[in-house]
């Protein structure tokens, strides 16, 4: 029987990698999930605990995929604590993907938003000149730096890190770096995934200079399929119309960068 992407498939976690004290990557075998597009996500079931949306991380082994999760509330902590040999459920992939341009590309990732960027890197062409910005609060929270370099070993590329406290890389918010870079270079495409304020500022910097920019959004998600309504951002549903939106749209959206909804559906300021 063909797999229906809306039905949960139970997989076994085969490997757990500690990326930082609060971020772990869980690797599992799944042909379908290994081949998704950047920006797409899965709904991940931690039996007895919760189900939550997760970007689908690449794996170095073919036929495998992963989740890179930051320990936060009970749901993500549940996933964070899954051990090798334990089972989780996955459904999807859901969501659209980036329009990947050619030429000079700028990728901006913060926190687990980097997961989406790592998959995007799988799709750049050898002729592309790629700059990747990694933003983190402090040195301990930087991850995927080596991975980024190795994924780009055949490209002209730069990997820049910024930490809020300056403990590693440049000091300051990653968005300041973005502003500087787009001022210097007319990129053919800017892609961003991370905390909403970071995305909002990046979109602003690029779009105001007529640079093509896309962001992969996060919202509270219950169903992942366009039924529950919890993931709305303006008129759009992130799970079904997104996760990727472009600058044209986002700069007109009344909620992007300003509001999100909590579990009861009440608008809350960022």
């Amino acid at each position: 029987m063909q797999r229906n992407h809306n039905h949960t498939t139970v997989v076994t976690v085969e490997k757990v990698i500690d990326e930082t004290p609060t971020v772990r990557t869980l690797v599992f075998s799944d042909e379908v999930m290994s081949n998704v597009l950047p920006g797409q996500f899965a709904m991940v079931w931690i039996p007895g605990i919760n189900e939550l949306p997760m970007s689908i991380m690449i794996s170095s082994e073919s036929g495998k995929a992963a989740f890179t999760v930051r320990k936060h509330g009970p749901a993500s902590t549940g996933l964070f604590n899954v051990k090798v040999g334990e089972k989780i459920g996955v459904r999807g992939p859901y969501g659209n993907t980036f329009d990947i341009k050619s030429g000079k590309l700028l990728l901006v990732g913060g926190g687990t938003g980097l997961v989406t960027m790592m998959r995007l890197l799988k799709f750049v062409k050898p002729s592309d000149d790629v700059t990747v910005l990694i933003g983190a609060k402090t040195k301990d929270e930087v991850f995927f730096e080596d991975l980024t370099n190795s994924l780009l070993e055949n490209n002209t590329h730069k990997v820049l890190i910024s930490t809020d406290d300056g403990s590693y890389g440049e000091k300051g918010f990653v968005t300041e770096l973005v502003e500087k870079l787009v001022n210097e270079t007319h990129y053919d495409g800017v892609y961003v995934c991370g905390p909403e304020i970071m995305m909002q500022k990046t979109v602003q910097s690029a779009h105001s200079r007529d640079i093509f920019v896309q962001a992969s959004l996060e919202r509270m998600m219950k169903c992942g399929v366009g039924i529950c309504g919890s993931c709305c951002v303006g008129e759009e549903l992130v799970c079904r119309d997104g996760t990727v939106f472009d600058g044209d749209y986002l700069t007109q959206n009344k909620e992007f960068g300003i509001f999100h909804r909590n579990k009861a559906g009440i608008l809350e300021k960022y």
């Binding site: 039905h7 139970v10 749901a75 039924i227 303006g234 008129e235 909804r261 009861a264 608008l267």
Partner: protein, 326 residues
């Protein structure tokens, strides 16, 4: 010879009856008791139902009205995930736990609304809950209120209310005394026969009935050996329940003289027409949005129009209840 939409007169209708060769351009307008709608297909409660912006989009996409997520007096977070999943044999199962921003927050959000016919769905345990919520909507344009007497998976509200005839009587009477806006009761399959609940609501002055809500159900994951929903039990919706919903509409319309909104598993224009023929003057759909996305409203509207042309009907009303004559 055709007439423009919305310009039909009773004379023209009469004319078309006398000369069946003259085709009257059909209209999708319908009235469910006092509720007048431009199109008979509505968004059911709980689906995409928490944002006015999304309501606007759905309305533009062909929904004749949108029913809000069932609101409570206070905001509710609902149950932890998994709360919704696609059933292997077809349809969807959910136990969202009636998560909602609460009536007050919600009313504030929809205050600016002018264009969209909004039907406000509510849950509560006592008549005063409903009274309180209706007060919150004083400054809003509300097309109707829908009393959710049939949610199958939250304690003390929904079906637990619908299954108690005394409570139904009190709630309906209270609400009818509180507002002049039409009030709909939404029923479903509970522990008390739903026809009894309908009877009680009708006696207590309800304006219309929506039938049906989801059907209490369960699914178990054989790998992990536990119920899939965090709440264990949930409500089954979508294609699996259509034949059950259709018989309920037929049974209600055979027994009571009350306007009916059909709901349950509708995803095509044929489904919609079946419900009209069984006695519904309007329909709601939810799961079909999950299956076919938002285009489903206009697909169904178009299909109904084609059908009406073929059968030479000019109004929805002409087909309501026809299957009972055979």
């Amino acid at each position: 010879m055709t007439f423009k939409k919305g310009t039909r007169t009773s004379n023209q209708l009469l004319y078309s009856k006398l000369c069946p060769l003259i085709k009257v351009e059909p209209s999708l307008e319908t009235s469910i008791g006092q509720i007048q709608l431009k199109r008979p297909v509505m968004l059911a409660s709980g689906i995409l139902g928490i944002s006015l912006d999304v309501f606007n989009r759905l309305h533009r996409s062909g929904a004749g009205a949108v029913v809000t997520k069932s609101l409570s007096t206070e905001p509710w977070d609902g149950y932890p995930n998994p709360t919704i999943f696609s059933v292997k044999g077809g349809g969807w199962m959910n136990a969202v736990g009636l998560s909602n921003p609460g009536a007050a927050n919600f009313a504030k959000m929809i205050e600016p609304n002018k264009d969209v016919p909004i039907i406000v769905s509510m849950v509560g345990s006592i008549p005063e809950d409903f009274e309180l919520m209706i007060k919150e909507f004083e400054n809003c344009k509300v097309t109707a209120y829908e009393l959710n007497l049939s949610c199958p998976h939250v304690a003390k509200v929904g079906l637990e209310v619908g299954d108690d005839p005394e409570l139904v009587k009190k709630i309906v009477s209270t609400v009818k005394n509180t507002t002049d806006v039409p009030v709909i009761a939404k029923v479903g399959l509970g522990t008390t026969h739903y026809l009894k609940t309908v009877g009680t609501a009708v006696e207590s002055g309800i304006d219309a009935i929506t039938a049906i809500n989801t059907v209490r159900a369960m699914a178990i994951d054989v790998e992990t050996q536990r119920p899939i929903l965090s709440n264990k039990f949930g409500g089954l919706s979508g294609t699996p329940i259509k034949p059950i919903a259709l018989r309920c509409v037929y049974e209600i319309s055979s027994k009571y003289d009350i306007p009916i909104i059909g709901c349950g598993g509708i995803s095509t224009w044929e489904d919609a027409v079946e419900f009209f023929l069984a006695g519904a003057s309007g329909i709601q759909l939810g799961s079909a949005v999950g299956d076919n996305w938002i285009g489903v409203f206009n697909e169904i509207n178009d299909g109904i129009l084609q059908y009406m042309k073929k059968k030479n009907y000019s109004t929805i009303k002409e087909m309501v209840g026809l299957a009972k004559k055979s």
